[in-house]
């Protein structure tokens, strides 16, 4: 029984809450929106029981600013939403980045633009990775593709946020949020990384000079300097935090590139193809920012042919092209608006290229 109970069948949305709570996130602020409503529902149940706090904010904007305040106070805090709600948080995310506050933001992406629908989608890749808010900032963006990764990467997100004092986005989609899969809990029990103390936090200026957290830099050249410091931080993140996975990539004749739900679909396609003797391989970025450009360039250069698969009209494919340059032929297959590509469709697209 105890052996068995280590694995539980759980939805993606619930896995996020478990990962967050395991990471010590006791402060959650959110606003209902499908397909992520299970997250606030679970948090509302659990947090009061473990000394934490759940607030259903009056809006997504209030939620991100509650996170801003809680983060400034030095606690781990999170908000989650889905596409339209994430758009509303863009000012707040830019402020978090500017004030260098750690926070975790989850986007269970749905079909857009506008109200769109509530199906799974990857239509917010640009928004997440290029910065939907104003100014020269970046957020770390993680793209989980399984329930286990939703848990693990949520856990990781809090550490990365604290280490780099930066907002971290988790970009998943409605299908990942709603689907169930077994989650192995022990993976989450790893100790937290060795984190710097939050000496900058606002806790009351007791026995120390007052702390100030802000993003306004009006003096001549001040903001520019601040931006270059941010830039250095982003460089450091690029050097240290790139994560990706390869699957049958070494000997592939065609390299699929996909993240999140489309990556797991592609994995199925690779398996299917391999059984038929067709040498497909998969390159799966796990960090969408920083994008694993060099690793991809290396692999793509060897193989020479890359097919990017997205649940949108073509967004990550720009990063793929930027990474690979002309060292490989680049192709794209995508379905926007909540259309989920099936194994067969992708397989057919691959065949055409072989």
């Amino acid at each position: 029984m105890s052996e068995k109970s280590k694995k539980i069948l759980i939805t993606g949305n619930e896995a996020i809450t478990e990962g967050a709570i395991a990471a010590g996130c006791l402060f959650y602020f959110g606003y209902p929106i499908t397909p992520q409503n299970e997250i606030p529902a679970f948090m509302a149940k659990k947090l009061p029981m473990i000394g934490g706090c759940f607030i259903q904010a009056e809006s997504e904007i209030a939620a991100i600013n509650m996170v801003y305040g809680a983060a400034a106070a030095g606690v781990r805090s999170m908000t989650t939403s889905s596409s339209p709600g994430i758009s509303l948080k863009q000012e707040g995310i830019s402020f978090l980045a500017g004030a260098e506050l750690p926070a975790v933001i989850v986007n269970i992406c749905r079909g857009g633009p506008g109200l769109g629908n509530i199906a799974g989608s990857q239509g917010d890749y640009f928004q997440a990775t290029k910065g939907g808010g104003h100014g020269d900032y970046r957020t770390i963006v993680l793209g989980p593709s399984s329930i286990q990764e939703l848990y693990d990467l949520t856990f990781l997100a809090f550490d990365l946020a604290d280490i780099y004092r930066t907002p971290v986005l988790i970009l998943a989609d409605g299908v990942l949020g709603q689907m169930m899969e077994p989650l192995a809990f022990e993976n989450g029990q790893k100790p937290k990384m060795n984190l710097p103390e939050k000496t900058w936090a606002l806790t009351g200026a007791k026995n120390r000079p007052p702390n100030i957290i802000k993003s306004l830099y009006m003096g001549e050249g001040e903001l520019e300097e601040k931006n270059w410091l941010l830039y250095q931080k982003y460089q450091k993140i690029q050097n240290n935090e790139i994560r990706y996975k390869e699957y049958h990539a070494q000997d592939a004749e065609l390299l699929l590139v996909a993240y999140g739900l489309s990556a797991r679909i592609c994995k199925g396609v690779v398996n299917k193809a391999r059984k038929q003797g067709i040498a497909l391989g998969l390159f799966q970025p796990v960090t969408l920012y920083p994008f694993p450009s060099s690793a991809l360039a290396f692999r793509a250069g060897k193989i020479g042919k890359v097919l990017t698969i997205e649940m949108n009209m073509g967004q990550m494919v720009e990063d793929v092209k930027l990474a690979t340059g002309s060292s490989s032929e680049n192709f794209f297959y995508g379905r926007p608006g909540g259309g989920i590509p099936s194994d067969e469709e992708i397989f057919q697209s691959c065949r055409k290229l072989l």
């Binding site: 299908v175 169930m180 077994p182 797991r264």
Partner: protein, 187 residues
Amino acid sequence: MAEKKICIAGSGGQGVLLLSKILATAGMLDKKNVTLISSYGAEMRGGVINCTVIISDEDIGSPIAKNPDILIAMNNYALQKYGPKIISGGLLIANESLIHDSQFFGNNIKASFLPATEIAKTSSGHTKSTNMIMLGAFLHKTKLLSLQNIQESIKLLLPAKNQNLISLNLEALHEGMGYFKEEIFYD
């Protein structure tokens, strides 16, 4: 075991999600890979609900199945909507009690009809355990999952304090497993 895609469909209140969760949990306990995804809609009630459970020895790619290997159809609408999607050579288990129109499909399907609602009503006095009857039938027809872990799953997923409910459901499960009806072979 090759990947099996099971579609469970019915209307709200028919216990489609519970049935699906039991299947997936049992698969997990059987040390298979499993995924479960349920449809979710903007409309609240009255719509048809469908879940897809995939059970496999290998990693599972898409949790969504355009064409299931097996359909568990809890009512007429479910049959109409998802029946035609079963793959050739696939299996249908349908709740005959709520089906008034079964002359639709289709290629090479093994179909098992059982009057699950009535069986439930007769044996337990109400229709709530229809889903367990269907589960029993599914188990009998497919032998896809171990009975032990199905039972274990039922216990895991129902509130432990309500022993009564658990035994009621287990009974219904066996009722469903025991029921036998000749197979019709469409082709």
